[in-house]
């Protein structure tokens, strides 16, 4: 089938979905919205892991920073959501930059553990900085977004908002990755020394990947705060970082559309398995292990470039 026709059909389906689902069940609209949020998160993480090849384990922290920034601005300063959304994204992106700068010297598992530690420190700050964050009680009563005097109240409005945000995220990240920046990141992922030897500054692009990933996590966080109208440290734990990571891995790291697929699978499956919900994490753990053994590139991993000078010889060497 023609690619354009396919895109058109998918777009039409996504646009018409509230008409089909919205009347049937509010609940499935909520599931769709959650898929949207996690798609943005996993696409952002995919830039860091799949493209720049940096194993980061603290993505929920960026999500949390975005959500708390948005919540605090919306509650305390009564700003418009449309202003808060970019501010939260920029603030979170800045934190990505701050974290990225010292840790890019680390590699692989060390980087994973340090970013995990960063995630935990951020969460502890949410819990313990009671004056600002109200600690474990969280921040309730975040006002809903307004557009030309119209207040977002139902799930359908939020669905269209997140749909727009997902599309913007996809297009922006896709353009970045298909520019020289993306190619440089791929070169660094494949071989950092080679990249450095041909004049690509690895550190610059690694920091850039962290900043981009955090920026979009900030958007997802701000949306989440406005949508659920309540933030608490519980939504940004270590397990949430693992969940986002699993989305990237199961979907296929190095492929943006794979991240959306991964997010869809990992949001829908637990809902379908509600009657065995206590086995949810067990199955997730098992799925991750099996995936690593049998198909480490994920369900929809990137296709390898056809022109490969080294063929298979480079695998496993030079590490």
């Amino acid at each position: 089938m023609n690619r354009k026709v396919l895109t058109f059909i998918v777009a039409a389906l996504l646009l018409a979905l509230p008409l089909l689902l919205g009347s049937v069940s509010e609940f499935w609209m909520h599931v769709m919205i959650m898929i949207g949020i996690f798609s943005i998160l996993s696409m952002g993480l995919n830039v860091i892991i799949g493209y720049a090849g940096q194993f980061a384990l603290g993505h929920a922290a960026f999500y949390g920073i975005g959500a708390y920034t948005a919540a605090l601005l919306l509650i305390n300063y009564d700003l418009s959501f449309w202003l808060v959304l970019p501010i939260a994204a920029v603030v979170t992106g800045f934190f990505g930059f701050l974290l990225g700068t010292p840790v890019i010297r680390l590699r692989g598992d060390y980087l994973g553990i340090v970013t995990l530690g960063f995630g935990e420190i951020v969460r502890l700050i949410f819990v313990n900085w009671v004056d600002v964050t109200r600690g474990p009680m969280g921040l309730p009563g975040i006002p809903a977004p307004k557009l030309f005097g119209y207040t977002f109240s139902g799930k359908i409005e939020f669905y269209y908002l997140i749909l727009v945000l997902v599309i913007i995220t996809y297009i922006v990240i896709n353009r970045i990755l298909h520019s020289g920046i993306g190619l440089n990141m791929l070169t660094i992922r494949e071989d950092e020394r080679l990249a450095a030897s041909i004049g690509i500054r690895p550190n610059k692009y690694k920091i850039m990947a962290f900043t981009i990933g955090a920026f979009f996590a900030g958007i997802a966080g701000a949306f989440w705060a406005a949508y659920i109208s309540y933030v608490s440290p519980d939504a940004f734990r270590y397990m949430d970082s693992v969940n986002i990571l699993a989305m990237v891995i199961l979907g296929g790291s190095g492929n943006l559309a794979g991240s959306i697929l991964g997010a869809s699978i990992l949001v829908i499956t637990p809902e379908l398995l509600r009657y065995v919900s206590e086995y949810r994490m067990l199955l997730l753990g098992l799925a991750i292990v099996l995936m690593m053994i049998f198909k480490p590139t994920g369900f929809w991993g990137e296709k390898h470039r056809k022109l490969n000078f080294y063929g298979k010889a480079q695998k496993g060497e030079g590490k």
Binding site: L116, Y238, M239, V242, L282, P296
Partner: protein, 290 residues
């Protein structure tokens, strides 16, 4: 006050050291961080609880049973989740380990529930006072048993033939195999010893805090990993030194700086050590080969 904190710090530091040994032995050979190690420690603790409570065995038998079963678990995990990935990129076993960790936590939650469970033993409640320092029976047990286990491990690794084979394997997997060492068996052995030590630590912590719960392995795992990195990952004496140092720092910082941010301290130490001296105190500097 100061001596009291030092005693408490030493106690918890010994626990960190025992868990850290598991990280460091596996890393020494395979160069992977066994992310699930903290959860193996948690399972060990629950198994100890199970043997004490359901089977009503004496404490020392619970230690032995739990250590043996946990060792088998560690070996099984290596077989199932790490061995098939030996040739893969370094990031792959790490993700697999995250899967194992998630799996173990949910297994524990399914079997034993999510709440904290007390340890059904009267042992360790007795308290001795030496000068201004109070020390409980369980603290003495932790200090003595940990020292014994670590000295035993040290002698095993340095003096026996199998220990020599293990050291050879950790220096070079290929060369050890060429010399006729069954390297797979050495890897299994490293997992078995590490898991058994973690199980002992788990039971002692369970008695010390009188609480066992499925997510207890997370913080303990992070702290122990910090200890391993602090001492120099891959080095067995390093893990012991790192554990004790971290326990002391944590206890003193908790007493004199802030209890709320106590767990931030180990993360901060970890990050600083990794950035400034990634090879740790006793670790060998690894040359980054192209």
């Amino acid at each position: 006050m100061l001596f009291q904190q030092i005693t408490n710090g030493l106690t918890i530091g010994m626990i960190y050291a025992l868990i850290a040994l598991g990280y460091t032995m596996v890393y020494g050979i395979l160069k992977i961080v066994n992310f699930a190690h903290g959860d193996i420690y948690m399972i060990g603790s629950f198994l100890g609880l199970f043997f004490l409570k359901e089977l009503q065995v004496p404490l020392y038998v619970a230690f032995i049973f739990s250590a043996v079963v946990t060792a088998l678990l560690g070996v099984t995990i290596e077989r199932a989740a790490y061995r098939p990935l030996r040739k893969a990129d370094r990031i792959v076993p790490l993700i697999s380990a995250l899967g194992v960790s998630t799996f173990l936590i949910s297994v524990a939650q399914l079997i034993w529930g999510t709440e904290m469970r007390p340890f059904p033993t009267t042992f360790g409640a007795k308290i001795y006072t030496v000068g201004s320092v109070t020390i409980s029976e369980i603290q003495i047990l932790i200090l003595v048993l940990s020292c014994l286990l670590m000295v035993g491990l040290h002698l095993f690794v340095k003096k026996t033939k199998i220990g020599t084979a293990m050291r050879a394997t950790s220096i070079s997997l290929t060369n050890a195999a060429l010399l006729g060492i069954n390297t797979n068996r050495m890897i299994s052995l490293a997992f078995a010893i590490g898991s058994a030590l973690a199980a002992c630590a788990g039971i002692m912590v369970g008695i010390y805090y009188n609480a066992v719960y499925p997510t207890m392995g997370y913080m303990a795992g992070i702290n122990a990993f910090t200890a391993a990195v602090l001492g120099g990952i891959g080095s067995i004496p390093g893990a012991m030194l790192g554990g004790v140092l971290l326990g002391l720092v944590e206890a003193l910082a908790g007493a004199y700086i802030s209890t709320q941010y106590k767990s931030v301290i180990s993360f901060a130490i970890l990050i600083i050590v990794l950035l400034i001296r990634p090879s740790g105190i006793l670790g060998k500097k690894e040359i980054d080969k192209v």
